[in-house]
């Protein structure tokens, strides 16, 4: 993918956006969300756009196709693709380019494939409609590309409907679809963000291979610097619709000039100090728990787990590994089929209705999506005040004072925030409110279900630090459910690795993270992208070598 030889630079760039301005509608007003950014892309080059949410990276990527989402408009600058001005060009001309010479790969393939049509019909649509290929040619080409992208059963998989195919396979099928007309430029919009790490590495490899093979230029959009370091020749760091800095991948990763870039590079370096072995009897003990949802196969199989006081136990695994189900069993939402749960040595009633208010109080939960976990029609005063009244019987002045205290604890100014609605908060602030709501009950154990997954990395790190401070001050225990190994490294005392409903490895953080590992732990750990140029190629080569030596190399279940 390194096409930095001197001839490319002499040629006219494939895409040149100068002084690009894009506005978004907020009520009656138009706010500028991209403020005069220049983008130059040569043939065969891969450009990485990186930034947190709100940086304008997707908006810029779509602008390369002359497209603005509903509620946005391309308000200024030039977009020149292969000599053609796209801004202000008639719709018909832009339609002739889209899908043919510029293609798009969306973040969530599950949502971007039409559920009503077979994959191959959606593949063939653009080439047949634009007159590039006949239907038969397009079908044959689809199968070739499916094979190239290492989809299983390339001859048959196209005749499936989107819901019949796994997430990682769908993402590859979407990459194949984008290739259907052999475009000059492909815009990848966070193509692996919704995937598990073990799947991500394979999809990244497939994308990289096919882009190189077809010699297309690409814009690769992501919030993950470690990923973009593997994919891009050149990187643009964006923030609030402005360019922060631009340079070759090597330069941005190894010699960043701007403070913001250095901050992005430094995330995931936070480490909780080692706590040593647990001293007291465990707070929560799970013995031989198995569970299933009605009539389905078992999703939990014979799980044993202990959580000590003031300890953080990270439960890690891919989607479908049963980690969230475990949380549902502990909270009583899903009574286990077998096994028992002890809280301070006493058996907990398996189902929620059997537990008294005191048991409920001592075990609280924080969810992945703070947007949906907070009632949008309640002020923070009521959101945090409700558990105070419900569990502790606080009213009036006392309750008000306690709400303020809790807001201070989560580092939000009470005077400013107590009367706000959740919609008036940022994502990170909302998650803080969810934490305060859990704290209000004065629990012993908080189950955190992917609490940082929906947040930007810098914000996520602040939340992790806050949780750690609260643990130190209030002597809380956490069960931390996550698929993100960086989070596990940062905050855990002990690690539990789950695969297909079973625990495959558990122990103190350093024991689990240092070799030798269980082979699945090894797969998980080695699949986490590192902030190093060439990591992807090296890792894949390493796996290939081990395979060649005849060793068993475990593969992602979602192949």
């Amino acid at each position: 993918m390194n096409s930095g030889d001197s001839t490319t630079d002499v040629r006219e760039p494939l895409l040149k956006m100068t002084g690009l301005r894009i506005e978004g509608q907020a009520g009656e007003r138009w706010n500028e969300i991209v403020r005069g950014v220049d983008v130059v892309l040569h043939r065969g080059e891969v450009l990485g756009l990186i930034g947190e949410s709100g940086a304008g990276k997707s908006t810029i990527g779509l602008a390369a196709m002359g497209y603005a989402r509903p509620g946005c408009r391309l308000s200024g600058g030039d977009i020149v693709f292969d000599g053609m001005e796209l801004r202000g060009a008639p719709e018909d001309r832009k339609r002739d380019l889209r899908g043919v010479r510029i293609a798009y790969v969306a973040q969530s393939a599950a949502a971007a494939f039409n559920p009503a049509h077979r994959l191959i019909d959606q593949f063939a649509e653009a080439p047949v409609h634009h007159g590039v290929k006949s239907r038969a040619e397009a079908e044959a080409d689809a199968k070739d590309l499916y094979r190239r992208l290492q989809l299983p059963y390339p001859e048959q998989i196209g005749y499936r409907y989107p819901h019949q195919v796994s997430g990682g396979q769908l993402q590859r099928a979407m990459t194949a679809m984008a290739m259907s007309c052999r475009p000059d430029l492909i815009v990848f919009d966070e193509p692996t963000t919704a995937l598990d790490v073990t799947t991500q590495i394979e999809v990244l490899a497939a994308i990289k291979d096919v882009v190189r093979h077809l010699d297309a230029a690409a814009i690769y959009i992501t919030h993950d610097l470690a990923v973009v370091a593997q994919m891009a020749d050149r990187i643009m760091v964006l923030r609030y619709g402005d360019l922060v800095e631009e340079g070759t991948a090597d330069q941005i990763i190894n010699r960043p000039r701007e403070k913001y870039t250095r901050e992005l590079l430094a995330v995931r370096t936070y480490r909780k100090p080692d706590a040593g072995p647990p001293s007291e009897a465990p707070l929560l003990r799970i013995e031989g728990v198995s569970a299933r949802y009605s009539r389905s196969a078992r999703v939990l199989e014979d799980v044993d787990l202990e959580i000590g006081r003031r300890r953080t136990v990270a439960v890690v695994g891919e989607s479908g590994s049963g980690k969230s189900t475990l949380a549902r069993v502990i909270t009583g939402l899903l009574p286990p089929e077998e096994g028992r749960i002890f809280f301070e040595g006493e058996a907990l009633p398996p189902a929620l209705p059997g537990r008294n208010r005191e048991m409920l109080r001592r075990l609280q939960m924080i969810y992945q999506m703070p947007d949906t976990a907070l009632n949008p029609r309640q002020r923070l005063r009521d959101i945090i005040g409700r558990p105070l009244a419900f569990y502790l019987g606080l009213t009036g002045r006392k309750r008000e004072d306690r709400v303020r205290e809790l807001l201070e604890m989560i580092e939000l100014d009470p005077d400013d925030f107590i009367d706000r609605y959740p919609t008036e908060l940022s994502g990170g602030q909302k998650q803080r409110v969810c934490i305060a709501r859990a704290l209000a009950a004065q629990p012993d154990l908080i189950i955190c279900d992917e609490v940082t997954s929906a947040l930007d990395q810098l914000v996520a790190e602040e939340i992790l630090k806050l949780l750690q401070r609260l643990q130190d001050e209030l002597h809380l225990s956490y069960m931390f459910i996550t698929h993100d190994l960086a989070t596990v490294r940062a905050i855990s005392d002990e690690i539990v690795v789950m695969l297909q409903g079973r625990i495959v490895e558990q122990g103190a953080r350093n024991d689990v993270l240092t070799p030798p590992h269980h082979e699945y732990t090894n797969l998980l750990l080695s699949s986490v992208p590192e902030m190093k140029i060439g990591w992807l190629d090296r890792t894949l080569a390493e796996r290939e070598k081990r395979r060649a030596r005849g060793e068993q190399v475990m593969e992602s279940a979602d192949r």
Partner: protein, 318 residues
């Protein structure tokens, strides 16, 4: 596939249960009518003996539950009983009229459904344009007027002033197909005007609702024209709500025709029902009521099954 069959069987059983409950309600409702039926029919002057004899003949001397069982048993064997007014079998009375009503519903639907879907798709395609607004205003106005008003306006303009169509839809078996169509045009047009707005609005809303989906954006970014995006990408996913509304309106075409049939003196089931009510011909009222209920339930059942079938997740399980 078995999953779908089980679901259809479940719906069917539920429909039968509903129909049973409706038959109870109809029977009890008539039972609760004030006044004595025989007296009302025979008049105040009738002697005790004639009244008693008449009651025996109608089996009114039996307790209600026995009469209900007998009535239901008869229906299950295809015997709806006899009319009080002219002693003819109700099946025979309803037969011709039923076909007339279905004929009217059919030609109304043949015009209204494609028209509504077409207008709805176009309204979604040209959302916010003067065309969209005009279609909305016209269809919403036509649904806002009571149907007898629409009917009389049509008669006034198309029958009386222009003289294009007959104001009375006097149809019979001796007429040819096109002659029947011609004579049924005004009632069919009235019904069309009444049902189009609802279906058109739902088609438009269901499509527009989907236009923000990522797969519609994807279709846009594949360079497809808007017509193709709406017809091929939005419409198949919008079918379930559209089918439901279409079927509710089809049911209305069968069940709700009473007023329109009366205005145009159209010899359908609605007319029969009105006549039967007027002459206190209770068995006929019961039979038509039950038929209307059955038609309504059956059509809604069809809607349920069809919207299940438009879901690829059910049609093509993993």
């Amino acid at each position: 596939m078995t999953q779908i069959l089980t679901m259809v069987a479940q719906r069917l059983a539920l429909g039968l249960l509903t129909l049973f409950v409706v038959s109870l309600i109809i029977f009890l409702g008539v039972e609760l009518l004030p006044g004595d039926l025989t007296q009302a029919i025979l008049g105040q002057a009738a002697t005790e003996e004639t009244v008693a004899a008449f009651r025996r003949e109608l089996k009114l001397d039996l307790p209600p539950h026995e009469r209900y069982v007998a009535w239901l048993g008869g229906i299950l064997q295809g015997d709806l009983g006899h009319s009080l007014a002219n002693k003819r079998a109700i099946t025979e009375l309803m037969g011709v009229r039923l076909w007339n009503t279905l004929f009217l519903a059919f030609i109304s639907a043949a015009v209204a459904v494609p028209l509504a879907l077409g207008l709805g798709i176009l309204a979604a395609l040209y959302r916010g344009t003067p065309y969209d607004r005009a279609v909305n205003i016209v269809t919403l106005s036509s649904i806002s007027f009571p149907e007898f008003f629409v009917a009389y306006i049509l008669i006034l303009v198309l029958a009386v002033q222009l003289g294009w169509f007959p104001s009375i839809s006097n149809i019979g078996e001796e007429l040819g197909f096109w002659e029947r169509v011609y004579r049924s045009i005004l009632p069919a047009l009235t019904l069309t005007l009444v049902v189009v707005a609802h279906m058109m609005r739902m088609t438009r809303a269901a499509i527009i609702n989907l236009m923000a989906s990522p797969y519609i954006e994807m279709a846009n970014l594949k360079g497809l024209p808007r017509v193709r995006i709406i017809v091929r990408h939005a419409l198949p996913n919008a079918l379930a709500p559209i089918i439901n509304v279409v079927v509710i309106n089809l049911a209305y075409l069968v069940v709700g025709v009473v007023i329109v049939e009366v205005v145009f003196v159209y010899p359908g089931l609605g007319q029969l029902l009105i006549d039967a009510v007027r002459t206190r011909d209770i068995p006929v009222v019961q039979a038509t009521g039950l038929f209307f209920a059955a038609a309504y339930i059956l059509l809604n059942l069809t809607a349920d099954v069809l919207s299940i079938l438009t879901n690829p997740r059910l049609l093509h399980p993993r």
